[in-house]
């Protein structure tokens, strides 16, 4: 039997991990677009959309970060650099996302402009995390 995970090959994320990682980028990006729309129109429904999109991104992103943390402690070769970076990006993204959720819990225009800035930063971090995660890890790094 061929060992698919021999040294040097790239192993994709576990499907469930990949599904969880799929949440933050589109949802945080949606919140960013929604914030732009609120800034342009001051129509409150855009602010409400942002609140829910951020909450959704936090749920998927939170579990993805937890999965990444557990992977750090599973046995494997010593080279875990990319996994550590992946985990840290997810954690920073999640913490800033939580702050963003609290900012978006303020009433009406009180979310501006901090909410817009935080949505931009968390969208960027979600992009970085997705890029690293979907690039896969060295065989043995992830099970």
């Amino acid at each position: 039997m061929v060992d698919a995970y021999s040294s040097g090959s790239v192993r994709p994320l576990h499907p469930l991990h990949a599904i969880l990682l799929a949440f933050p980028l589109p949802l945080f990006a949606g919140a960013l677009l929604s914030d732009f729309a609120y800034r342009a129109t001051s129509h409150i429904q855009w602010a409400n959309f942002s609140s829910w999109l951020i909450a959704g991104g936090l749920v998927g992103g939170g579990f993805a970060a937890l999965w990444a943390l557990i992977n750090l402690f599973r046995r494997g070769p010593a080279r875990k650099g990319r996994m550590v970076v992946y985990f840290l990006v997810l954690v920073v993204m999640w913490v800033l996302g939580l702050v963003n959720a609290l900012v978006h819990a303020k009433d009406a225009w009180a979310t501006m402009p901090e909410g817009l800035y935080l949505s931009a930063i968390t969208t960027f971090l979600a992009l970085v995390a997705a890029w690293i995660g979907y690039s896969g890890f060295q065989a043995g790094e992830v099970k």
Binding site: S42, I44, N48, L102, K106, D107, A108, W109, A110
Partner: protein
Amino acid sequence: MTRPSLLIGALSLILAVGHAQAQQQQFGPNPNLPEPQRGLLPSMKIPRPANWGNDLPKVPQGYKIQPIATDLKIPRQTLVLPNGDILVAEGSGGYAPNLRPKDVIAGYIKSLGKSSVKGGNRLTLLRDADGDGTYEMQGVFADNLNAPYGLAFIDGVIYVANQDALVRFDYSDGDTKASGPPTKVTDLPAVINHHWTKSMTASADGRFLYVGIGSNSNITERGMDAEEDRAMIWQIDVQTGAHKPYATGLRNPTALTIQPGSGQLWAVVNERDEIGPDLVPDYLTSVKEGGFYGWPYSYWGQNVDPRAQPQDPEKVAAAIRPDYALGSHVAALGVAFSNSNMGPDFADGVFVGMHGSWNRSNPVGYKVVFIPFRDGKPAGDPIDFVSGFLLDDGNTRGRPVGVTVDPRGALIVADDLSNTIWRVTKN
């Protein structure tokens, strides 16, 4: 300490860092208004319900207090009828949907400080037939109402402001039960009903009813469109049911009353939240016909609130400063003018019922105060008239709402946490 209050305490401790704990109380015509501030979470402290046991609320020397009705279903406002019977409006309203994750969480936290009893949607009648101060009769005058709150009596007719409509009952002296279902006078604004209480009082000549309609949000976070016909006082013609806005920009005018002698309309108004523990003071004010009082664009005159967008500088410029600050977050829900039968120290002035704060680390309100008047205007600091609701451990045994002065010399206080009607009299 119970676990939820620990959790809330910890949250507010961690996340409200940076809130200066300036707790000086603000009242009078020129309150100190600090800069607006807001941490990541608003300060929250919910006093949890506690029991009275054998205790009673505290009243001034020379006065006594007794519960005259208990086990009610969220008593809010009271009305003393000509024969001395007391009507109690019981209910709890609002249809505001949760629009954001925050609404779900905040709704749960606030519910911790409320009675678990379901609103009665009814009027209860109390009678003290022999005048000994014990209201031995307690019965349902009318039920199947929709969150009744404001009550008024004009020439043999009882008017009730439900959360969605003004209705009337024909009444004969001595009735203990309505003869039938009420007749609708006019609809009242009821979409969403974020602030659902429809306060009410009758003009001195009996031609008009004034109805207070609260805003549909804290500060327009349900959208400007939701604020049509909100945050204002309507003047309603009793004969035709026709209405016009009498005064606007009053965020939540929770109790209205007419000043004896002058016939002037007065209101207590609950102001906006989430810009600090000492902003914005709730207030007592005479209400000028056609006047605009700031909400949502500004507070206490020309202090602009940028949360309301788009702004309206002309409205800000026109905003009237209220007469008398009662303190931020005290939640004034009752107001009544006194009379000479209440005793010389409390003859000239108003009683104000304060439901008490929930979004302030040091709770305020939770009492009934007396504000002395001179020459028809507030003159002097508030005096505690009924207090002792709040305990040292941070829990509370009651929350005052409506206050009514019985012309024979008694203050009637509705308490919607212990579901009690209190009566304060001279010894």
